[in-house]
């Protein structure tokens, strides 16, 4: 029997039986915040937060707001929990702003290799 390289957490034997590794209980996620939010949060350019369970935009933002309560309402509208219109989410050179907030983030973000970027629009005014 030999192993086939497969997505994270899953190994296959040639017998075709999938085995799932036990998921990590917590992932340490890197997040880059825009300048004004760093000031509000008294934080540096990049913060590292713990996320339990699936690593999605929603769970990361939940963790950000739990860690930095003064940021509630500044990234997501407090009433609708929708992304504020002038902010975007990027990772691995991709714009993740329009994907479902419950979609899994890229592996590189989950592993901590790449940060999630919260970026404000470069707009006038």
């Amino acid at each position: 029997m030999h192993e086939i390289r497969a997505p994270r957490g899953i190994t296959f034997s040639t017998a075709g039986v999938a085995a799932r590794e036990k998921p990590r209980l917590q992932d340490m996620i890197r997040v880059v915040l825009p300048q004004h939010l760093r000031t509000l949060a008294h934080a540096g350019a990049e913060v590292t937060i713990e996320v339990e369970g699936s690593v999605t935009l929603r769970s990361v933002l939940d963790a950000i707001e739990a860690r930095y309560p003064m940021l509630r309402g500044t990234i997501r509208d407090q009433a609708t929990m929708q992304r504020r219109p002038f902010l975007r989410f990027f990772a691995c050179e991709e714009d993740l702003s329009h994907q479902s907030p419950d979609a899994l983030l890229p592996e590189a973000v989950v592993s901590g290799k790449e940060p999630l970027l919260v970026i404000g629009a470069i707009a006038g005014g």
Binding site: H36, A41, Y68
Partner: protein, 390 residues
């Protein structure tokens, strides 16, 4: 010795200007909340070290900030000044302004095209601390609604009787948004509050905010289908002298108006003004019949006539106005003065202050006879308030 503290909200931060009672030399603070729009700051009459600020941006939304040391340091209500965040559930929801949607009258208002549009919170335009309790503060919001906090800004709830009294679905925004920009607390009657909305009009409660009624009789606005309608007038600002709580002065989108019966009836007092369009209006601290406006050329040309920045004063409660020009630019001046950008102090010789969209803050230490710029190069000024510290 007395001290004067001028609270200046600008397009890109807040500034605090301080002087002693002579009002000759002024210190200008570095910007607080640099980069954010500070729509309004106001101190508590009960505790002048307690100041509330509306901090807002199109990117990051609304925050409320609070100071307990006269503006030196700030914190979001529920957090500690200058402290790093404590992880965990938030201890307050100081920037959450949730609209009451429980009634049919509370769900939509008229949009620019006449269709119905849902109420959407944008920002806080005006903060009005209680006259009797430093922990109680009112907030005027866009889309127009009135909120109150009883815990120093940590939590807010809507006084939804205002939007729900019946005319709410007919309210329509002006060009600058549908904002509740004026809140006046009657010092003689704790249950009476006046508010004004662009572009719905003026309203009054006599029971502490539970029920409200429009107070626009006598206003005439040629730009709406029924010029004398019950609501729909674009009121820019209202002022009241605390010793004459039944007398109100209004700067409207065209016309300067006056009421002597708590807003039940209004009459025009524009008189000999060169133009009766403008935004600010205020009252001398010790002379209830002395009022000030800054005439602006028109609703499309938001600058003074002929490039001359002039404050006009009436010592007769309106109709007879005199220009005040000494120390103000009389040529090539094309700034605007926004509705919350004028205030008065309560020193013996009443001081008058106003800020411009050009970033100047002008002050008069002699009730308007002469002026000087006490700050010249700030970002565009959105609001001016003054604290007299005795």
């Amino acid at each position: 010795m007395s001290k004067v503290r001028v609270l200046v909200g600008t397009h890109k931060g807040a500034f605090i200007l301080t002087s002693d009672g002579k009002r000759e030399e002024w210190e200008v603070s570095e910007p607080h909340f640099a980069g954010w729009e500070i729509y309004h700051m106001k101190g508590s009459p009960v505790n002048p070290n307690r100041i509330y600020a509306s901090q807002t941006s199109g990117w990051f939304g609304q925050l409320i900030q609070c100071s307990d040391d006269g503006g030196k340091t700030w914190h979001q209500p529920g957090a500690s000044a200058g402290q790093a965040a404590e992880p965990g559930p938030p201890k307050s929801e100081s920037n959450k302004f949730a609209y009451d949607t429980s009634g049919a009258q509370l769900t939509t208002h008229q949009w620019y095209d006449g269709t119905q549009h849902p109420w959407e919170f944008k920002r806080v335009w005006h903060l009005e601390p209680s006259l009797t309790d430093s922990e109680t503060v009112y907030a005027g919001a866009e889309d127009a609604a009135l909120f109150r906090s009883n815990d120093g800004g940590k939590n807010w709830h809507e006084l939804s009787g205002l939007r729900g009294h019946g005319t709410g679905p007919k309210w329509q925004p002006g060009a600058g948004g549908m904002c509740l920009h004026t809140i006046i607390l009657d010092p003689s009657d704790p249950k009476r509050i006046y508010i004004a909305i662009s572009a719905a009009g003026a309203f009054r409660t006599d029971d502490g905010g539970t029920t409200w009624k429009p107070i626009n009789r006598g206003l005439r606005s040629s730009y709406i289908p029924d010029p004398t309608a019950e609501i729909g007038h674009c009121v820019h600002h209202v002022a009241m002298h605390p010793k004459r709580p039944d007398t109100l002065f209004m700067q409207k989108h065209w016309d300067v108006m006056r009421s002597d019966d708590g807003g039940d009836n209004w009459k025009e007092i524009s008189g000999n003004l060169p133009t009766d369009f403008g935004f600010v209006i205020d009252v001398h601290a010790h002379e209830p019949e002395t009022i000030y406006v800054v005439p602006i050329k028109s609703d499309s040309e938001h600058f003074p006539i002929d490039g001359k920045l002039r404050v006009f004063r009436s010592r007769a409660g309106g109709n007879e106005w005199e220009p005040l020009t000494e120390g103000l630019p009389q040529s090539d001046c094309y700034v605007n003065v926004l509705r919350d950008a004028m205030a008065v102090d309560s020193l013996d010789e009443c001081g008058i202050y106003f800020g411009t969209t050009g970033g100047q803050v002008y002050a008069s230490a002699d009730a308007g006879d002469s002026w000087k710029a006490i700050a010249r190069d700030l970002p565009a000024v959105l609001s001016v308030e003054v604290q007299t510290i005795q």
